[in-house]
Symmetry: C2
Subunit: 216 residues, 2 copies
């Protein structure tokens, strides 16, 4: 083993944690994806999130969730483990406001009857504070959410892709439904403005949901 | 086959081109990586570049180069196809100026005796115009280069990682040499300023090269 002056305990700890995540996810996807493929997903997810994330303390935890969700998306898309429910992907620029709000609203409304994901073309460092507050006001917590880069696997898994303000950054695949929603960006708004966006999205998401499942 | 109203000829053409790239690279890495892994590299590279690229016409071409370089990096890092030469990675924020200049200078100076890569933590849409001009003035063309996101594979492959202005976004691995160079960002400079950066980088890159190989 070479020893580098910068390979301190933190580095070795990260290696250890990501190695354990790889083992855990490899077991979960045994017979579906090779351990080598799972390892790539874990480490590339870590590096992709690390390029923009500020809270590096939680990076291994959100890496696990991001890699797991991507592997689930890929397994579904390839027909290896179909989820059995409609899959919806919301994409905006920063995955810090619009797409996070829409995803939370649809998850809440459909209660597991739809699989919901979100992503951004240029993910922000963290969620917009006013967005978190506005969602809290209606009882929805975004505390565990984080901005994620758009990846191919989640597009492939989706039956419906909703883009908001991210132009042509999302790959188009045949057999999917694409919608472009014109929703103003909450990034520059005060809380009152974000509440308005929340109400607009609530109506849109409700209409979307009623076309996918029987909404309670 | 489902037919989507948005799955026009352009989409089918892209699918076809990326499929052929996958086939070609799968043959090149036969016995090294599974076709499934290569397919993931091609399509995830496409989506990652597409999030920031503006010239989508060339996207399949640069996707091929990016995926090929990443697979070469991974094969080297895993000892499956060692390059046999020192590998250097330059990382800055946008991969549009500093890291591109440093990479071009080191490539030119070492003429294949060092494998050189560059990447950015938040890649720009295209290279900085003044940077391209300043490098042209010394006979180095950046015409085929493009901003690339930092990925895990290229970090793993590197013996030396040079960061410039991108903070802690680069994963640290044991056994590598890391240097952080304090070089001003050309993004906001006029051509005269970029020429100064070019000269500073030339000296630094020459010193770096002389520590790695016998510079001609």
């Amino acid at each position: 083993m070479n020893e580098s002056p910068v390979a301190d305990d933190g580095t070795l700890l990260r290696e250890h944690v990501l190695g354990r995540v790889t083992e855990e996810l490899s077991a979960m996807f045994d017979g579906v994806f090779s351990p080598e493929m799972v390892e790539r997903y874990v480490f590339e997810s870590y590096t992709a999130l690390g390029r923009t994330a500020t809270f590096t303390t939680y990076l291994p935890i959100i890496t696990r969730r991001f890699a797991l969700d991507r592997l689930n998306a890929l397994a579904h898309a390839q027909g290896k483990r179909p989820s059995g429910v409609p899959e919806v992907l919301f994409v905006c620029v920063q995955n810090a406001g619009r797409s996070q709000m829409a995803a939370a609203l649809l998850k809440h409304l459909t209660q597991g009857a739809v699989n919901v994901r979100s992503a951004g073309s240029m993910p922000a460092e963290h969620l917009d504070e006013n967005v978190v507050t506005a969602m809290q006001e209606i009882g929805l917590s975004l505390g565990e959410e984080f901005p994620k880069p758009l990846t191919d696997d989640v597009v492939r898994a989706a039956d419906v892709v909703i883009t908001m303000g991210c132009g042509d950054t999302c790959p188009i695949y045949p057999g999917k439904r694409y919608e472009d929603w014109h929703i103003s960006d909450p990034a520059t708004m005060d809380l009152e403005g974000v509440r308005t966006v929340r109400e607009v999205l609530t109506t849109r998401v409700r209409n979307l949901a009623s076309g996918l499942i029987t909404v309670p």
